[in-house]
Symmetry: C2
Subunit: 247 residues, 2 copies
Amino acid sequence: MVRLKATISYDGAAFAGYQVQPGERTVQLEIEKVLATMHKGNQVKITASGRTDARVHATGQVIHFDTPLSIPREKYQKALNVQLPRDIRVMKVEQVKDNFHARYDVLGKRYRYIWDCSMIQSPFRRHYAVETNGVKPNVEAMQEAAQAIIGKHDFSCFCAANTSVIDKVRIVNALELNWHGEELHMTISGNGFLYNMVRIIAGTLWEVGTGKREISSLSQMIASKDRSQAGKTAPAHGLYLEQVFYE
Amino acid sequence: MVRLKATISYDGAAFAGYQVQPGERTVQLEIEKVLATMHKGNQVKITASGRTDARVHATGQVIHFDTPLSIPREKYQKALNVQLPRDIRVMKVEQVKDNFHARYDVLGKRYRYIWDCSMIQSPFRRHYAVETNGVKPNVEAMQEAAQAIIGKHDFSCFCAANTSVIDKVRIVNALELNWHGEELHMTISGNGFLYNMVRIIAGTLWEVGTGKREISSLSQMIASKDRSQAGKTAPAHGLYLEQVFYE
């Protein structure tokens, strides 16, 4: 048995998310189907760094799995890509130690969130950036508000209510906002993220940028640990899991 | 009655092309359905600058139609965009003279063709650029070969056999090749293009760039007026109708 680590990219538009769910097309299901074919019908379970929701994209999701096949890594990658649907690609395959774990060993992650602020959204961006119908936010205000988020905090206010996680203290290392043409990109990295945390932060900062919320309200909001104090959860299709960090 | 000119953009991935065909989802059908709704069930025929094939994209297709509705142009555009499927967007609506004709008045067009030369194509580009599995062509050779195409020629050799057009003389004004990261873009403009002409030129230049065809063969090929002398028709999903020129 050999443990392999694979870095995968997927277009979330046609998936009901990462994790297997009965009757749904998911990323995990598609990869496990191909692995089962490669292993003569034997199930090969894959473990990801974490789930992503329906319509959320990934350019650098990481998974691990064990295989008895002694195929060179590049051939393994090719065999997977030949059989996988075109909205999932294996970008890299590496052999790792037997005790490597794609979820437990995560040191941090980076996400990207994209708003398309053009007057009329190009049809080519409809699944890949959230349209704002020409609304352009005050990015300086958003950047100032973001300073309250950076650091080590209990992020309960930015966590979807339906979660079983108890410890909600996380470290946000960086949060940047940059224009790419008429698209506004938010990148955020930290040691871990609660359920819906990036989308709730995006929704809250958007409200600051469009004058619906005070910059100064962020500190109180975080101190309150109350989800209802924060902004709306921003739409799923603007979100990308970009990189997962390991030792 | 007022004649309107509309500039439209569409993602060709989920269309069987521009023109209405029984039982198929086409761009013309979707727009005419919405116009019929806006006109209380009365059919409003639209006329485009020309057809595009299945999976071919457009960022600047032009159509015209006549309407008895006296709605301001911006409202007309909004009403169309609200009802149209998200893979078609109306980018602009202008009132034109009653004798303007989207097809007969065309002075020229510009197309773009995109090859994605990265080793593993991003899942986000699968419908929007032709994957070459890491093959990077000799662009200087392609550029040199392109010089034989620029100018006024009988382009029979670059025209799909199944066409009813008799006069195959056209002027190609410009043909450029440029790298955008790992993607190679070909832009071509001229006073008119024969059926499949851009895709056959793209396929032929690709063969030059990958050493399967001599640079010097282009002049003979054009002189032969024989489709079988030219290269393969490049795949549809790399092609974009970018702009249509009028007076």
